[in-house]
Subunit: 509 residues, 2 copies
């Protein structure tokens, strides 16, 4: 049987651009994983890792023009957005280089012998070691920042783990280009090119998560695909951590007082956030609790204006377009669901933005309306109009886990009056990031970031963005009674490595 | 159908002592979980949690005489060992109270707005929140320290998570007593007694891990039982973290030079460690690579003497005794396996310690001898005699994951000569704790401890002993743009809570 071809497709036309590769066989997946495994020793030196990450960023910037052109041809995301995303990707690689240099991620804890504890403590020194080869399943909607050189790869390499990427079929040509850049950057530092493997094909992805030498996986994508791989990871003879970012509704609550104070600004802001990138952000606000009544009406009017002003856009692929249109069809069929601006097919290859409204009372109990509290990928949001604070609480209690939850408060509520604190406490169990008076799209690459949340937002308690994403690829090891001469340098008393640590109970910078 | 009775059994006689309870029905499990869930708000205040943990320790000490008597009657572990274990348990509760006070476990990271990052960083503040109700599956072999008031419970309560314990059938009477003590301690601080639930019965344990309000689980026990619960946790509509400690061989490598230097001391130390607690420690050294030849022979002679001097002992229950005897039978049947001291039935209710030897060459490839590199719970170890360093490497590469791995080196090797560093590097991938010139039994409750390891030692990268065990029951939440008045006190600029944190990149104590 001939190997299945992998085509690069232009979503603006639906036409094949070029054949990029063929789908990897099980043997080819095995070869990629083994090559990555063999490369792990070259990543043991933290200085090499940091230098490799910085060079990778530089070489991606060097190749910027070509990369943006190919990325745009495959994703239709446009050069402006893609230029920003590439800059973010390079910033992220350098940020992880800084994290590798600092060494706080090693979580060094040292205890000297202590007879006052029960039982007595021997000489015991703990830090974290890399898990091994990491499988990265890249996303469609961020061809740079959540793909071959994205946050999963950057954090895994920073941790000392080689990576095998399962490319996303929406940008195979870009994936090949980026992988080549990373491999060349590795070679510049004496790291074998096998440290970054790339495989194409659905079956290859399944083989990858089952491979005995794969020690952990990172995934960004759909609930269906992510859950299938999560299940495969858990069913292995030796189960492995599976850090999947699957799906998120990203609820927004607008209080009555906030709507009274600035309905128009909220409506306009919502329109901008939900249509950004043709509604293809995992943090798109997909569900809004807005008050019934006059202030809420004003909010909706601004939303109508904002959404109507948005140009039709091209989704990442035609399958997504079909799903989007089917999702709209399914939702608008429900009684009491209205669409002040109906989302739909803009043209043969585009979609137009819109939004739906529903009385919040339809959502306080399980039933057919539950489809409205499921993610619909694309430029649409659902506005549920509530009559009372109790209705808000009732609907919130029924929401699945989310990456983000957003609260719009009045000035007085923000200062502590009214139900602000109560609502914040109600939103916290629902999400990994809680915002006040902002919009969830746009995810900063910061040490304080948490891009994750209760299932199905993520399959673990980890983040895929920000400095702590490195924690996913490490495990602790404690050394007991190991002579100084044999200890890793980070665990010796003298701290020549200069890493932050907990030394006999004291935190040392 | 009448509810199944739960009996307390005396392992010294195999006779039922008393009926303690009945097995919990699904409705009773549901009630326990709901009561725990309702109690979560009472744990929100860190000061209350710390005080509750300290009072729990005090009240357990107050009830010491009764607790030790019942524990000994159900476990046959003897008052000396049990007194030490209770002291350890109370030390652990107080250690977690200290951790709650300090607040480092909250992992506070604060970033103020910063336009120099790509993309720009908003006001973003992260800390960790409790996951919710934790299911604790207690162990047979530590009726205090890994049971109702053990490390899983202590760390979960410290994190702010209510607990429902599935009691171990080997000590149901003690479990009821300890649960009562903890509940009364909770009540002293205004925490509802439902904060600590207790259920009996195998089916109740399965119901518990599937309950929608259970947010995570901790388990200590067998590979078979732990894997079944792990699978159930992963198969839930909303999967939950399952931190299971399942099984461990705890390999020991004795170098030729070490054996030449102190064969007798190593043999005697090994005999003590492998027979401690009738070989019922999860860290029992169950597999030893010792050199062939004269020095190794001397080591074995000491081991014969040490093991022969050990009294026959009572295992925790008769099922374990049956498994132990069957395990010995299966292993001694293999050609080339010898038993210088044959482990076996000491009397009607006891077992006697012993050990087996095998040429290491039998273990360098998959086959019938693989049973020798599986855990056999009880007072037995397997000594594989190696002919060359290459044979050691070949056997190590075939071992499953372990809680511990131990290396015995000569003085010169400890100082950096010879293969010491190389062997340490070979052992590190195999275990969560690596020892030099010590014995793995005895697990200190220290911040630097790591009691966990590659599967099947644990089902996650976490520890069940030591300060970082608290991390298992928390998840991060980032707050973006939240006004000061609504922020948790730990996330405000002023740091009135005095918690260690990362503040705009700087680590602050």
């Amino acid at each position: 049987m001939a190997a299945a071809p992998v085509w690069s497709v232009d979503p603006r036309t639906g036409k094949q651009r070029e054949q990029v590769a063929v789908e990897a066989t099980a043997q080819e997946v095995d070869a990629a994983v083994r090559a990555a495994h063999e490369a792990r020793g070259a990543l043991a030196d933290r200085a090499v890792r940091a230098a490799f990450l910085r060079t990778a960023a530089q070489r991606l910037e060097d190749a910027k023009d070509t990369l943006i052109e190919v990325a745009d041809a495959e994703s239709a995301l446009g050069p402006v957005r893609l230029t920003g995303e590439l800059a973010r990707t390079c910033f992220q690689l350098r940020a992880f280089a800084g994290i590798v240099d600092e060494g706080a991620f090693l979580d060094v804890v040292i205890n000297h012998p202590d007879d006052t504890t029960v039982p007595p403590t021997p000489d015991l020194r703990r830090y974290k070691v890399p898990l091994g080869v990491v499988a990265v399943y890249s996303a469609s909607n961020f061809p740079f920042a959540f793909s071959v050189a994205g946050g999963d790869t950057a954090s895994a390499l920073a941790a000392g783990c080689p990576v095998v990427v399962k490319s996303h079929p929406d940008h195979p040509a870009l994936s090949e280009l980026v992988a080549k850049v990373l491999r060349r950057a590795a070679a510049e530092h004496g790291v074998p090119e096998g440290v970054l493997g790339l495989v194409h094909g659905f079956e290859a992805g399944v083989e990858l998560v089952k491979h005995p030498l794969v020690a952990a996986a990172g995934f960004t994508g759909s609930v269906r695909g992510g859950r299938a791989l999560f299940d495969a990871a858990a069913a292995r003879p030796v189960p492995i951590p599976f850090h999947g970012e699957l799906g998120s509704l990203n609820p927004v609550v607008v209080t009555e007082a906030a709507a009274e104070e600035r309905a128009e600004a909220i409506g306009t802001g919502l329109a901008g956030s939900m249509t950004m990138g043709v509604g293809q952000f995992c943090t798109k606000p997909g569900f809004v609790l807005a008050p019934a009544g006059e202030a809420g009406d004003r909010l909706l009017k601004s939303l109508v204006d904002g959404v109507s002003d948005t140009d039709a856009g091209v989704l990442l692929d035609h399958r997504m377009r079909d799903h989007f249109l089917a999702g709209i069809e399914e939702r608008t069929r429900l009684a009491d669901v209205e669409s002040p601006v109906t989302p739909g097919a803009g043209g043969e290859h585009t979609v137009s933005a819109g939004f739906l409204t529903v009385p919040a009372s339809r959502l306080t109990a399980e039933g057919a309306y539950d489809v409205l509290i499921e993610e619909c990928f694309g430029p649409v949001t659902v506005v549920a109009r509530y009559e009372s604070p109790e209705e808000v609480t009732a609907v919130l209690s029924r929401l699945p886990g989310n990456l983000t939850a957003t609260l719009h408060l009045s000035e007085a509520e923000g200062a502590g009056e009214g139900r602000g604190a109560e609502l914040l406490a109600e939103l916290t169990p629902l999400a990994g990031r809680v915002l006040v008076n902002g919009w969830p799209t746009g995810v900063a690459v910061a040490p304080s970031q948490h891009h994750g949340g209760p299932y199905p937002a993520t399959t673990s308690t980890s983040t895929s963005v920000g400095g702590t994403a490195i924690e996913r690829w490490l495990r602790p090891v404690a050394y007991q009674g190991v002579p100084e001469a044999l200890l890793p340098v980070e665990l010796r008393d003298a701290n020549e490595a200069g890493v932050p640590r907990r030394f006999d109970g004291r935190l040392e910078r």
